[in-house]
Symmetry: D2
Amino acid sequence: MSSRIGQCFTVSLFGESHGAGIGCVIEGIPAGTPLDLEQIRKRLNQRRPGKDQYSTPRQEADSFDILSGYFMDHTTGTPLCAVFRNSDTRSKDYQSLKMHFRPGHADFTGGEKYRGANDYRGGGHFSARLTAALVFAGAIAEQLIEAQGIKVMTQVQGVGPLRAESFETLELTDAVVNQLDGEGYAIQKSVEADFLKAVDDARMALDSIGGIVEGVILNVPVGLGEPFYDAFESRLAHGLFAIPAVKGVSFGKGFDFVNMRGSEANDLFYADGDVVKTRTNNNAGINGGISNGMPIWFKCAFKPTPSIAKPQETLNRSTMQTETLEIKGRHDPCVALRAATVVRAMTAIITYDLWLESKRR
Amino acid sequence: MSSRIGQCFTVSLFGESHGAGIGCVIEGIPAGTPLDLEQIRKRLNQRRPGKDQYSTPRQEADSFDILSGYFMDHTTGTPLCAVFRNSDTRSKDYQSLKMHFRPGHADFTGGEKYRGANDYRGGGHFSARLTAALVFAGAIAEQLIEAQGIKVMTQVQGVGPLRAESFETLELTDAVVNQLDGEGYAIQKSVEADFLKAVDDARMALDSIGGIVEGVILNVPVGLGEPFYDAFESRLAHGLFAIPAVKGVSFGKGFDFVNMRGSEANDLFYADGDVVKTRTNNNAGINGGISNGMPIWFKCAFKPTPSIAKPQETLNRSTMQTETLEIKGRHDPCVALRAATVVRAMTAIITYDLWLESKRR
Amino acid sequence: MSSRIGQCFTVSLFGESHGAGIGCVIEGIPAGTPLDLEQIRKRLNQRRPGKDQYSTPRQEADSFDILSGYFMDHTTGTPLCAVFRNSDTRSKDYQSLKMHFRPGHADFTGGEKYRGANDYRGGGHFSARLTAALVFAGAIAEQLIEAQGIKVMTQVQGVGPLRAESFETLELTDAVVNQLDGEGYAIQKSVEADFLKAVDDARMALDSIGGIVEGVILNVPVGLGEPFYDAFESRLAHGLFAIPAVKGVSFGKGFDFVNMRGSEANDLFYADGDVVKTRTNNNAGINGGISNGMPIWFKCAFKPTPSIAKPQETLNRSTMQTETLEIKGRHDPCVALRAATVVRAMTAIITYDLWLESKRR
Amino acid sequence: MSSRIGQCFTVSLFGESHGAGIGCVIEGIPAGTPLDLEQIRKRLNQRRPGKDQYSTPRQEADSFDILSGYFMDHTTGTPLCAVFRNSDTRSKDYQSLKMHFRPGHADFTGGEKYRGANDYRGGGHFSARLTAALVFAGAIAEQLIEAQGIKVMTQVQGVGPLRAESFETLELTDAVVNQLDGEGYAIQKSVEADFLKAVDDARMALDSIGGIVEGVILNVPVGLGEPFYDAFESRLAHGLFAIPAVKGVSFGKGFDFVNMRGSEANDLFYADGDVVKTRTNNNAGINGGISNGMPIWFKCAFKPTPSIAKPQETLNRSTMQTETLEIKGRHDPCVALRAATVVRAMTAIITYDLWLESKRR
């Protein structure tokens, strides 16, 4: 079904960006887990729009209310529902859009699918606003995988033609891994500055720009993922493509494998003491869909934010005539910046789900 | 669960490459459907190894036996089970592999996941042999979507550094669409010849090479796919990453979006008579995870076949020492060639599943 | 998973009786459905405790807040979340229960299952309070099946040794069918008076009493239910046994079939014009798990409310000594009375789910 | 979906009684389990028709072929497919039935649901023949739960008006528990003889008779079952009602609770050393849907076999006229006798599934 991800650890999202609120119901958190609410707020703050000029000036408080599944500062083991009330919703910004499909958005497809009954304001259920609830659930999942020694991190690895050093070659010391825990976008600070300049240039041009978010999962136990359909890549890609604006996902060398020979691409096994490792990690720690213990690194291509201030042609759904559209809302010039936190959240959710699933055997 | 894909039209795979056989159980075929067995055999033949020098010389008859769900030449509406008995299985080719992990294969991960109880011969349940059952199910799904006017096709679009013209720009006339129905790898015949030469070069070098399979779905009704998690991209990518050797999936401009501006990337809506279309199709016919009626085009990156004849270093799991491995089995030098049929099958399955799902509303 | 019922029309429940609130997330309501809020409130009122002396004097306003999936008085097609804030929760009534397991309740099992982290106040997530959210969802499902001409109704058919006339023999005219729509417990008013007296007797004795709720579904299309596992009986019984205090479910003649011969039990087919009917309806309109178009009638045995005012022996979980327990909370002397509305809700949910499922074929 | 039961341990059934064969695909068996094939054959033999005059004289060899998931006498952890080829299928016995609905069977409902495309011979997919595959899967599940110390047993507890002593009061010593392991129907031998006489009387009268199968699960760990929807009762009843001819299911006192007071019905907790027990077990070891460690005992009402030799009225689907039907096939006069083994199988499957599910937390 549409709103729910996961087999053992499940997250159901609900809500619309300009309705009463959004939220999630989470099942599968072990009973008696003390939630780190500060950590949850830190992640929400990283996703939060309006915190600098690189994102939309909309102010979303992103404060949440836990309605169930939480008692005396611990989870109860039963479904946990969290609600985020909507506040700063300038619906009138969207009223001119009622009859105009914004290019690159779900206004047309959502309207058709739901026969005109969809909440069209700000994308409604299709709004990236729902990722706040996802980040909430992801922060809990992150806490649960960290208790198993597993660590997820993400960075912005590309903006326009610019690229930061990849997790493939970065030495992932604790200092590096923790560097982006609270703020910042890329490990390599000099490139990060260039990224931000490129984003600002796009914004000044009343336009937007694409980006790459890269993720890595460290200390994954050997054996996560299922054959045939539930390969680790399948489950994670399913989640990643659900994030608004993702149009490509690759693991390890990804599309660069195309121009490689097998003798280069294969990662050779060796023993490091008792532990089986591979000399290279082109395959991103996954063989036959199952984790092999090496870091799982992957990339997500984000298209440029479709909402741009520059006038665009669109269709008036009442007249079926082409008209010029000027989007007056407040939008991120590069969705990849804030999306790094959303990718981290989704990755933590999928990883914990696969970890739980492997316990059943 | 691992072996089953789909919500409404489901396919469960079972079997190992060197056991008694492989097969599938399919649910969700409408009762009273007359199966086109010739079409199924044609698709199986396209996937079948051993038919030319570009694939492994293993001969797999790929003859199937329908055990249930089929009566008087029509489906009954109840589960359809098809079995493919294994025949040409030279298990002894694999016996030396019992203690040696082939690089890039699931020998190590499968052995660990199943605590040494996995059938290690030829990859066992992880073998690409299981894609025969997938192609069987996909041929049925193809028949079912064609009855709704939907058409799926795939081609090899890249081998090594070479690229054939993409479905993005090819004019998809009926002749073009049907060109690869029975044989052939790419629409653009001159490049196809170069592809085959590159594959042969890799084979002569006792090596293998990567490739790109591209797919397109035509005449998809508006409204397939579900928000939030079950975006069309999410569901299709889930299936595509389950195909052995896929390490990257992208929709439309995919990773090329990164270097685009929103004003270039957005596909502008216009009315073609009563029909809403977009002037470009960078987003591959999907907005907000929901089909918009334009062609859905996508690419899968296939890594080079990990089984190569060239000697490679590996680990002996009993001694935990590094040894040299020479893989004596018979393998494809470029897995992408035969995989085009598998991608077609998986795409048909997912598309029909989403089509059925949309009927519930 | 625990909190969710349904395949196509799904209802996820969350909440605890003495926490912030309870609620549900519903998926599968067709977009553009105008909800009849008055009808929802009527059903909630039927379930509501405190409305007469036959139920607990707890006052639960049962007012709900729809957070999502509802826009301009119509459903949007995306998940609908409704929240019921808790108000009249006298938590201190339950504090003495922290260390004492109430007999017949989930205090012991829930505590063990969740390693002591469960919200023990008033049963927490196990409380019958959650049935308010179920009745909300059921009222929507009822509206959806009525749009298809299907009608569900329930009555209290037994209390202690007393029995009212069954739906098996009652002539189900419109007047009879609508008789219990707003208030009342049994069609046969003379027996209803006896029921209420028996309940009051139990209450005066500081005790409780069991009962039977009977249901009937009229105008079910032929063909609902699935072979083998998802028989109509299987799916409906799954839901009915989830209702607190249900310990038996039977369809048609149920346990009376044991003492019948096949020649008596078989319902003989005949043609009533174009319509195939059966002369008797011992099998409750279901053959081989699939509806045959005749009324589906069934019974649920409710045990006596386990919470009674009479002192009972119990175990003190800290000392592991036996102690005397006096339950001071406010409880229904016969849970079956209010449960008739809950059975109606669950039946509507399951019926609509199976109806949607049958559309996929 | 229709053919699959279970969340973690899943069994998918396929096949028709007069087609090529029937079978199942099982997922969730731990890798490396050595299957006890003798035990599987013993259970199949208990279910097998034709072994005495109390069952149909059809001879079904019930020999199976394991196609996958089994290697060097151990399970591999991947899907296990077993096939039972059909042999003694006298299809011509059924040809006269093509146009006549047998009363009490799925001939009419299956024909309507599948628009006439169903395999009508011997009930097709609705045939009790499929329970052979269920017994196969159940024998494996039984082995898996016994490895956890959990024991399932079943007996015929009623035939017509006769009743054998119930598991409620029988002292369940090892000798008693193992008494029906290989043969026999009821623990109480004197009543068993009466049962068989009653069945034979029905057979001589060209008729059939109903029965009760009772089950008990011993040594269930505390905490199996899930709130709200996946109560132990809900999950087990779902499975039991899928067994052909089951029309009622009750747990513990079941329908006898109706005439009880709460003070009688409640099972009082006490400590037996470290172990929490209840003085009575009216609630069948389940509180709030969760197992409490006491024996889980339950009853299934089986209707009389609908296939009887006595002439019956039926409808000719071509003429829509009433005609007389004489069923010439070979059928059990009391389906409950052989069904005890099927109930045991289903109970083992559901119990192991819930046990696996509880491990995820």
